[in-house]
């Protein structure tokens, strides 16, 4: 079933690039929700057919990822956008074209990295490691190139998604309780960030993090 898994991995990476390309906050959140859907199917596609003992944890992990990454977090973020009543453009520091070029270059770099780093035990599909790093690095680009608090959170989510993909190489080693703990942290984290965004918008009447720069030496 690596065909389906490869397809999902490519979808995740393509969505990452389209998040860089989009200029609207709401569509960035929607695309990241779609990325969550593709991501939550990944454990099933990778491990469903081969594992017989671990079926229940894998199904639960998929369900948890779906609930958190594709439903709960996008809802929290779109509520934050509505409440903050912000201008809907993502307002990058670097122009959209340049950041897209950088992101594309990083995807290429990830393929090289995936080839250079030899896994002690081969990954379930050769695309897994490159796509994990690609998602992670593109998330970094979004994180540092945008000034809206919401898009920074989306970038952080992509970073976490990349790590989630990478974690698929270790599905037999990570206890289920720990997987749940990581997802719970992510959910609470975005919840707290959402509250912070709400306060920022009320206090400053905008959510530009660029103007959060009064504290310095």
């Amino acid at each position: 079933m690596t065909g389906l898994a490869d397809f999902l991995l490519l979808v995740v990476a393509a969505l990452a690039l389209s998040i860089v390309a989009t200029s609207r906050l709401t569509s960035a959140v929607r695309l990241s929700a779609l990325q969550g859907v593709a991501l939550s199917l990944l454990p099933l596609a990778l491990w469903g057919p081969v594992l017989d003992r671990h079926v229940l944890p894998v199904v639960l992990m998929s369900g948890g990822a779906l609930a958190v990454k594709a439903v709960a977090i996008p809802l929290l973020l779109s509520r934050a956008i509505r409440q903050a009543n912000v201008r809907r453009e993502a307002e990058p520091f670097i122009s959209q074209h340049v950041s897209l070029l950088i992101a594309a270059a990083l995807v290429g770099f990830s393929f090289w990295l995936g080839r250079a780093l030899v896994l002690p035990r081969p990954a379930p599909t050769p695309l897994l490691v490159p796509m994990a790093f690609a998602t992670l690095l593109v998330g970094f680009v979004v994180l540092v190139s945008r000034r809206k608090a919401v898009t920074q959170v989306v970038g952080y989510l992509m970073l976490e998604n990349g790590i989630f993909i990478f974690g698929q190489t270790l599905v037999e080693q990570v206890p289920f309780a720990v997987e749940l703990g990581i997802l719970l942290d992510l959910l609470v984290g975005v919840f707290v960030m959402g509250i912070a965004i709400h306060h920022i918008s009320r206090e400053f009447e905008h959510i530009d993090t660029e103007r959060l720069s009064a504290l310095r030496d």
Binding site: P120, Q173, P175, H199, L212
Partner: protein, 480 residues
């Protein structure tokens, strides 16, 4: 007492929810104090060695964890005491939401306890991230723009930094996956067993990512920038906990990865990295301490400096590793006391600008004298405990293959001392400007810092054998 470890984690977590549901200010404080006492009693019981030190594969306590758990528990008790006058009369801010204070503090305690008592590296990661989430609302306790900015930087920078540490944890899992211990879970024990056969590139990648990731939380340069903002904007009892307990939790997380490197037998690179990052942290902190005009920021930069000292100590190894763990205990005692005293100064003078504060000893003598004592302690003067720990690190550096490291270490510490003196001493001296009368000093605002200063002095004069024994065993775990 097999359930003592889960009890120590679950008790504050459950009571956090209870305090959140009750919403009452006094009820919250009562719960906070009760839990702090129970937690300290439970931790003290662990020192007697009768309680079970493991609970399944998820919770396991070794001597390193015990030392850091004890610091956290003791500081939490003292900070809870000083919270009482702070919340009941000292906030000055109609917009603050004091009923959130106790629940967040309790959740913070639960997360920090979990960091100390687990040896499952992925669960430890979740707990470290939990400490960020529980303490971010505390940083934004005062509804000011500065506090909001600090809380946002803290949340985002630490979350991103710690995400790298999760990647590092997974890299360690990958490094171990070639050997026979592949299915044993991400526990320290399994990793140390598998370490000699680990794929070296992945082990190194794991350590670098963990050092940068948890180093963000520990306040190591270059990802330290959130720390001065957060520690200066947070309410003083929270700053005391952030600096005294939380930085140590992040340090413990780095030590866990270092333990795996030690077990692999191939850890020169890890030592070099720690020494370099440590020295850079001390240097950068010194640069910002000289002429620093905000006394809370001054203490925050001093925390960065001391975390650098600790990193250098572990990196040098041998007796310096003993000194490093010892110093992290000493730094916690002193810095928590200093931040609590900074809260007293802020309450009376109403500003964090050191230039506008004069005559602290004349106006609030107990706070002033304790401030002077703790300044001398953290500055590394005998007979206070930090002198001994810093001396051990200096000695090991000087006798090692690179004596210049010892000289550099000493020079940087001298700069930090002078920088701190330049800001702090003028504050203490002088008559207070506008003939202001002596201000009241409620008992609970000076008792906790007094106890901390007394502990720093007592450990310096006569270190308890139980402590030195625990430190010695802890140093062995980190290659000492």
């Amino acid at each position: 007492m097999t359930g003592l470890l889960p009890f120590l984690v679950v008790l504050p977590a459950a009571t956090a929810l209870l305090a959140l549901a009750l919403r009452g200010l006094r009820a919250g404080l009562a719960i906070l104090l009760g839990v702090a006492l129970l937690h300290a009693a439970g931790t003290a019981f662990l020192w007697r060695g009768e309680a079970s030190k493991s609970f399944g594969t998820l919770l396991q306590l070794d001597v390193l964890g015990l030392i850091f758990l004890s610091i956290t528990s003791a500081l939490f008790l003292l900070v809870s005491l000083s919270t009482i006058p702070y919340i009941l009369r000292g906030t000055h801010d109609p917009q603050a939401a004091p009923h959130r204070f106790a629940p967040c503090l309790l959740a913070f305690l639960a997360a920090m306890t979990l960091v100390a008592v687990t040896q499952n590296l992925a669960l430890m990661w979740a707990a470290v991230e939990g400490t960020t989430l529980a303490s971010a609302p505390l940083v934004y306790f005062y509804r000011r723009r500065g506090a909001l900015e600090a809380a946002w930087k803290y949340l985002l920078l630490c979350s991103v930094g710690i995400a790298l540490a999760l990647l590092g944890t997974f890299c360690l899992g990958v490094a171990a996956s070639g050997g026979p211990a592949a299915t044993a879970g991400l526990t320290l024990e399994a990793f140390r067993g598998a370490a000699p056969a680990m794929a070296r590139p992945w082990l190194k990648a794991a350590f670098v990512l963990a050092l940068v990731g948890y180093g963000t939380k520990m306040g190591l340069v270059p990802l330290h920038t959130w720390l001065p903002d957060t520690h200066s904007q947070a309410p003083s009892p929270v700053s005391a906990l952030l600096s005294g307990a939380l930085l140590n939790c992040a340090f413990l997380a780095i030590l866990r990865f270092f333990q795996v490197c030690v077990a692999s037998g191939d850890f020169a690179f890890a030592r070099t990295l720690l020494v370099v990052m440590g020295f850079v942290s001390i240097g950068v902190a010194c640069a910002f301490m000289v002429g620093q005009s905000d006394y809370k920021r001054l203490f925050a930069y001093s925390s960065i400096e001391n975390m650098g000292v600790v990193a250098v100590g572990v990196g040098i190894g041998g007796t310096a590793a003993y000194g490093a763990v010892f110093h992290s205990v000493n730094h916690s005692l002193c810095k928590a006391g200093l931040f609590l005293l900074a809260g007293n100064v802020l309450r009376v003078f109403g500003t964090t600008s050191a230039r506008k504060v004069r005559g602290v000893i004349a106006r609030i003598p107990l706070t002033g004298i304790l401030l002077a004592a703790l300044f001398l302690a953290i500055g590394g003067l005998p007979p206070f405990a930090p002198f001994w720990s810093e001396f051990l690190i200096f000695q090991a550096a000087f006798r090692g293959p690179h004596p210049w490291m010892g000289v550099l270490f000493l020079a940087l510490l001298a700069i930090a001392f002078l920088g701190m003196a330049g800001t702090l001493l003028p504050m203490l001296q002088g008559a207070s400007g506008e003939h202001a009368p002596r201000a009241r000093e409620p008992l609970l605002t000076v008792l906790p810092p007094f106890l901390l200063a007394a502990a720093a002095l007592a450990i310096g004069l006569y270190p308890p054998p139980a402590l030195t024994d625990a430190l010695r065993r802890a140093a062995v775990l980190v290659g000492g």
